[in-house]
Amino acid sequence: MIKTDVVIIGAGPTGLFCAHQLGIIGLKCEIVDNLDKIGGQCIELYPDKPIYDIPAVPKCTGEELTNNLIEQIKPFNFNFHLSDRVQELKNENNKWLVKTLNGKEFETPNIVIAGGVGSFEPRKFPTKSAEKYDGKSVLYSIKDKTIFKDKSVVIFGGGDSALDWAIELSNSSKVTLVHRRDEFRGAPSSVQKIKELSDNKTIDLITKYSIKDVKGNGSLESVEIKSESGESKVIKADYVLGFFGLIMQLGPIAEWGLNLDKKTIPVNTENFETNKKGIFAIGDICTYPGKLKLILSGFHEGALAARGCFKYARPDEKYRFEFTTASSTIKDRLGVKE
């Protein structure tokens, strides 16, 4: 059980800057994120795309913004719990007991939900029959590639994950790559390599087809694919892999008894607290009259939510507003030497 002042859910820019504000006012926090890296949508959806509306930063990419925010909170040495997801919240004696998917437990008076549009999860096949084999022979990520040795593997998708795995697995498996159109969005060098492997018959490349059904008797035996004009083919398959990118799901957040407005959480604009005492929501996931889904709004929301957390984390102390330019306490916290 880790005791802390605040658990932040989401390591995107909003969660990171809220952590900074908590550090500045002398609170500790632990940050949990479902992705395996820090940065949220900035790093997952648009690491290379320039952002033009961060105040005083005329232009920076999602990755640069993330790196700067990580640098900015370094002095506080906060812990990150990546590839993990907050699953359960329970209130006991005005403290929140937080449990994650990987079995971590926290005790905290405050939770800040900075979860964007929810957690990123792989998009799955639309076919119902694929669910039966999910995690066994229908996979959306690869943990151990040795299981595919000498097997028939059918890969769906046109991006880098699909192409890279098709190339990699073609060394030791019988690979079929299926994509819905002729163009691929993967790196040009990978597309070139796939075409070579297809020309010399190392892999089977089938375009303008998508999945129709998976078939098997206990274990997976084949996958049926269809074209838009209705033709279909059946391919022998021991494994079927789908790489269609990630979608965002609200997930367990929907089950914590918070008021919800579609996929967002209504908050007050004084400290961004939700209908539950000690649970705050900031960034894209919160809503209030006039809400803008901008990173700069998330920064503002995080700064105010941090002050809201202070009240519950230090009930016997009075919060005193200070400037980073002038406060020697803050400079100590930042490790600034003068």
Binding site: Y46, V117, R123, G157, E183, R185, F244, I247
Partner: protein, 107 residues
């Protein structure tokens, strides 16, 4: 201004007057029309405002896809050759009478 018809997967029809300059996606969101989610808010980075343009003539008449739209559509639910991202369809008088069909689901 253009009158846009949105048809849900179950056949329910909605019609909205959408101001020029807004996207077909925004027209749905502002009028509380279900079936278009637009998780990313119009940044062409989520594929949850996916629609089908079933009328071939209308599909040809729409502004061409810009770079990246097809890549994003690869990641949509059941994309077809008549798929578009509605956040990329900017409304003008030319779009008056457009009908878009929603997929079974977005995520």
């Amino acid at each position: 201004m253009a009158k846009i018809k949105y048809i849900e997967f179950n056949g329910t029809e909605h019609e909205a007057d959408v101001a020029n300059g807004l996207s077909v996606m925004e027209g749905a969101i502002q009028n509380d029309i279900p079936g278009i989610e637009a998780d990313c808010g119009g940044g062409m980075s989520c594929a949850t405002c996916h629609v089908y343009i079933n009328d071939v003539e209308w599909f040809k008449k729409l502004p061409e896809k810009e770079m990246g739209e097809d890549d994003m559509l690869d990641q949509a639910f059941e994309p077809k050759s008549n798929s578009r991202l509605s956040c990329q369809l900017i409304v003008s008088d030319d779009l008056d009478g457009l009908t878009v069909h929603m997929p079974e689901k977005q995520v």
